[in-house]
Symmetry: C2
Subunit: 116 residues, 2 copies
């Protein structure tokens, strides 16, 4: 995390060239984080963390968003006191073409599977 890569009040983000594939794969390897990534991909706006209703505690939600931000998958900016969230699809596509799309497609296929 270079200082220049930080954006917003004290929210460090990796610069594009600092984003590591291992971290990008790790970020959605948790069911809650995969769900957040899918919801962000489906959003045209940049929702606040508090817009996500997840079956986990608020501190766990905060943790998941931090993992997503520090991996380079999500950009978080403050608007007032709310953290607004967006996928870094441009950065990810530049680094790893097609990867995010395949992950989202795979998640959609899995969600459509009959329950076992």
């Amino acid at each position: 995390m270079t200082p220049a890569a930080a954006s917003g009040r004290g929210l460090p983000h990796p610069a594009r060239e600092e984003i590591r594939l291992e971290s990008v794969l790790h970020a959605p390897s948790d069911p809650m984080r995969l769900r957040i990534v899918r919801e962000l991909a489906a959003e045209s706006s940049e929702p606040a963390c508090s817009d996500f209703v997840l079956p986990v505690t608020r501190s766990t939600t905060t943790h998941h968003f931090r993992v997503l931000r520090e991996s380079g998958v999500v950009r978080q900016v403050y608007r007032g006191t709310a953290k607004m969230n967006g996928l870094r699809a441009d950065d990810l596509d530049a680094l790893f073409p097609g990867l995010l799309d395949r992950v989202l497609e795979a998640a959609a296929r899995q969600a459509a599977r009959p329950e076992r």
Copy 2:
């Protein structure tokens, strides 16, 4: 892990329909496991665990292969006392088309990046 999904002497594998995307993403989210996946993808044969020379202890190597097997990314079969390894590319492509290829491409791009 259904009993029917087990193959070889006591090495449990998830059946194709039991493989979860989260686990498939988690498996190569470690640098050593990503390296193993890349080497397996480049192999025409099915190398033994002992063919991999990794800068980690033997027990850590064994752990990484177990994570890869239990996630559904790698199939391990005994030949004598050696565990032979192969990517489950057919299963992964059937479940999540194009995902493994994009991960391998992404890994190749990352490996070709200038060191920072």
